[in-house]
């Protein structure tokens, strides 16, 4: 800038490897994923087949959808642990509504709305009553799970209307609908985080909430929007899950919330807020799903799969830590 350049920590020295190091700094996990994908394609039988690719994509569709809104939650420096229970609750609500009214559309909206209400509650409590998000959503996790059991009477709600199953099972251009929906979600939320005031204000809140408030951002409103969107998205995911399973199951998606958060962190989303690239969430979800898929193909017993998942998460955050340390980013 007009000759006033200053040597600042984090600035890379000019070198041959500069292009690569730029790619590594900005999207190191993408590089890791591409390498992983190529290795698995070569060494794991049946991995790189159309059939398996579709199975893989389908297996991460719900994770991907909820990761979109979780990204915003993490970007603002918050957590949401209630998504798993909301997924179950909204699936049950959709089942009840469809069986009760016979209308598929009504059922879908009821499920999404049910999720949205829990999300709104989360947001209002966190923003207005100033209760820590971790605690609020932990409580809501129990409450929503409880309601899922209460509404369904503890049983899986079989859904009679076959018209509903299309949402989760229809195939368009050879690809099942949940995958299309997930891709659409990623596209929409990529635009939201990168190109809208909502997205940038969310990052600002996570980066320094007091500064954001004093800079004229309506912090409370944005928090409420973030959690409401999260609830709506979890509700939508729950409805799709119910459609795929042809029933609303009150015990669905146990532990799902931590998978979503792990995926985001794996992709380089900061837990302290302010740093939340959408490609991070996508790559995190892909790594999670791909490793899972490969382990199944290799017939690795489930017990070991848990260990592997944990180890991968640890390695990923350590890589991130080292990277941040080297580039001198403030932590």
């Amino acid at each position: 800038m007009n000759g006033n350049t200053l040597k600042v920590a984090g600035q890379q020295s000019i070198s041959v490897g500069r292009v690569f190091s730029r790619l590594w700094e900005n999207s190191g996990m993408i590089v890791v994923y591409i390498v992983l994908f190529i290795l698995l394609s070569i060494f794991v039988p049946f991995f790189f087949t159309w059939r398996n690719m579709i199975a893989l994509a389908l297996s991460i569709s719900m994770l991907g959808m909820v990761a979109c809104t979780m990204l915003f939650c993490l970007a603002s420096g918050h957590f949401d642990l209630s998504v798993s229970s909301i997924v179950a609750f909204s699936g049950v609500v959709a089942g009840v509504a469809i069986n009760g009214t016979g209308s598929v559309i009504l059922g879908i909206f009821a499920g999404i709305l049910a999720g949205g209400i829990f999300g709104l509650l989360n947001g209002v409590i966190i923003a207005k009553a100033h209760i820590n998000a971790l605690i609020t959503t932990l409580a809501m996790m129990h409450i929503a799970r409880g309601f899922a059991y209460i509404v369904s009477g503890g049983q899986a709600m079989s859904i009679g209307n076959t018209g509903f199953f299309g949402l989760g099972n229809d195939i368009f251009l050879g690809v099942p609908s949940p995958i299309w929906i997930t891709i659409a979600c990623f596209a929409v939320f990529a635009v939201l985080i990168n190109y809208t005031t909502y997205g940038r204000n969310t990052l600002a809140i996570g980066g320094n909430i007091e500064a954001a408030r004093l800079a004229g951002i309506n912090v409370d409103r944005i928090k409420i929007i973030i959690f409401s969107m999260q609830g709506l998205m979890a509700g939508f995911a729950g409805v799709i899950l119910a459609s795929r399973m042809t029933s609303g199951q009150p015990n669905a998606a146990q532990g799902f919330e931590l998978n979503v958060i792990s995926s985001c962190v794996l992709g380089g989303v900061s837990l302290t807020g302010g740093v939340a690239p959408i490609h991070g969430a996508i790559v995190g979800v892909l790594i999670m799903g791909t490793v899972q898929d490969a382990m199944s193909l290799l017939n690795i017993p489930t017990f070991y799969q848990y260990v592997v998942r944990g180890v991968i998460l640890l390695i990923a955050v350590m890589i991130d830590q080292i990277k941040q340390h080297r580039s001198g980013k403030p932590t």
Partner: protein, 510 residues
């Protein structure tokens, strides 16, 4: 300098932080039984030196010698064991533990893991008696006033047989009486042969208590005075700032117009008495007061961060209701907050984002889609205008120096083109060169017709740059002084006594 009588000696100490040379080849000695003052502006390197002394930071190069022996501390614990204690502004006490426990923390007398209460109380009582402090040993430290907590910190140091005690701005939150008490203790320690380092901004105190003095500027040792008898106040100041006072402020007078901001009988948290003042178009009004006088609190009420209990704010003659910062910016009042790190900068986002955060909603298309081209243009514009030194607008704001961060916040607030701008401590922690730049910028804001309010704890700064000075004390506006009549003595008198000159706009017919 290599005086053989030096008990503690710094030899060629340098400390480099990423992007900053915090200390550059500093050498001086401190004699036994003497108080050695350290002065310098914020960022001059005093605190860094104390951190090196205490073992909190290792020096990049150079060494610390104690009785002629080189010592290297890898932790504050090491330094303490060697007899060096640093008493920081923010005291390191455990608020929920008792006075006695705090005094002996880390060395609680015990037998097989059980605390020996009589021994604990006996030792603690002995120390408090020595310090002539009559404090209940069972009371929790958080219930004590700052002055007494400081005494406990000193007691802790003495219980470690500290031979070197360094005080970092010890009087910043003490009253006059408490300061006297502290000085009495420091004198007693000197008489017992301790080597004492005394860091302060208050030059009067330095002359009162110190036997020798070292002046720092921009990480360099400017001069060490081994005897205070030959030193004058002006000598110290000129060494500190490196030029004469007028040069720094370079005051420019300008035309002022109609009243823009009119605050009428506003009170709220921290502002106990109804506060009234007004600022004209193009005018620079300074707010001075001691810590806790209510200056920042008043500004936060006007800006809508805190709720007003009573009063009203008029902007260009029309009453405005401000209940949030967003509203304040909408009607035309901007505030650059006091605490840059806590309330200003978003360290993990880049310079461009930090500049555009408030203004971007004026650029958006279709309600909420960013106009990235306009944002880049705006950022580039201000980076050039305010001479923000950054490798690029994509650099993370947290990587820049304090002065440049301050400029980013200024850029953020100037982007919105408000009628009023409130600058709370605009030059805190900024080097002298950048200060001058910021002053010039403040004049140019006035020249462009903005109404400017500057809140500052630095009296020379307030007197140096403002057209009119409003003094606050204990939550009330107590005096209003035009530039021509402003002297350090009068303003400080109002701030300390809380008695005004009766010239405030309170109750003035409008």
């Amino acid at each position: 300098m290599m005086d053989m009588t030096s008990f503690l000696e710094f030899r060629n100490i340098s400390k480099h932080f990423p992007g900053v040379q915090a200390l550059d080849g500093v050498s001086f000695g401190v004699r036994e039984g003497s108080v050695h003052g350290l002065v310098g502006e914020n960022g001059a390197g005093k605190s860094t030196l104390l951190k090196i002394l205490s073992g909190a930071h290792p020096p990049t190069s150079g060494s610390v010698l104690l009785s002629g022996q080189e010592v290297g501390f890898s932790s504050p614990r090491d330094a303490l064991d060697a007899g060096i204690a640093v008493i920081y502004q923010e005291l390191n006490l455990v608020p929920d533990m008792s006075v006695a426990e705090n005094l002996l923390l880390g060395h609680l007398p015990q037998r097989r893991g059980f605390i020996r209460r009589e021994k604990l109380f006996q030792t603690a009582r002995g120390m408090l008696d020595y310090l002539t402090e009559n404090i209940d040993l069972n009371v929790k430290v958080k219930r004590l006033p700052i002055a007494q907590r400081q005494m406990i910190e000193i007691g802790k140091a003495l219980l470690h047989n500290a031979k070197v005690i360094a005080f970092d701005e010890p009087t910043s939150s003490l009253s006059g009486m408490e300061t006297k008490q502290l000085f009495r203790i420091i004198e007693a320690l000197r008489a017992e042969g301790c080597a004492i380092i005394y860091v302060s901004h208050r030059i009067n105190e330095i002359f009162e208590i110190c036997d020798a003095l070292t002046v720092f500027r921009d990480g360099r040792l400017i001069e060490t005075f081994e005897r205070m008898s030959s030193v004058t106040h002006d000598m110290v100041v000129s060494r500190m700032v490196g030029r004469s006072i007028e040069d720094i402020y370079g005051y420019r007078s300008r035309e002022t117009g109609e009243t823009v901001l009119d605050v009428q009988a506003v009170s709220g948290p921290g502002v106990s008495e109804p506060a009234s003042f007004s600022v004209r178009k193009g005018e620079i009004v300074g707010f001075f007061g001691l810590v806790g006088a209510g200056r920042s609190e008043l500004m936060r009420i006007i800006y809508g961060v805190e709720k007003a209990i009573a009063g009203k704010v008029l902007l260009n003659g029309k009453q405005v209701l401000i209940d949030s910062p967003a509203k304040a910016l909408n009607v035309g009042i901007a505030l650059c907050p006091e605490d840059r790190k806590l309330e200003g900068i978003i360290p993990v986002r880049d310079v461009k984002e930090n500049i555009n955060i408030s203004v971007r909603k004026q650029f958006v298309r279709a309600g909420f889609f960013l106009n990235k081209a306009r944002e880049r243009e705006n950022a580039a514009d201000f980076i050039e205008k305010l001479q923000i030194k950054t490798p690029s607008m994509e650099q993370l704001a947290g990587n820049l120096s304090g002065g440049n961060q301050q400029k980013i916040i200024l850029a953020r607030n100037l982007s919105i083109r408000t009628a009023v701008i409130i600058l709370d401590e605009p030059t805190r922690g900024i080097d002298v060169g950048t200060k001058s730049e910021i002053y010039r910028l403040i004049y140019s804001l006035g020249e462009r017709g903005m109404a400017v309010v500057v809140v500052s704890s630095e009296l020379p700064e307030i007197i140096g740059i403002c057209d009119r000075i409003i003094v606050m004390s204990k939550g009330a506006i107590v005096a209003e002084v035009p530039r021509a009549q402003a002297t350090e003595e009068t303003i400080l008198h109002y701030a300390l006594s809380g008695h005004g000159n009766g010239q405030t706009t309170t109750g003035e017919a409008k």
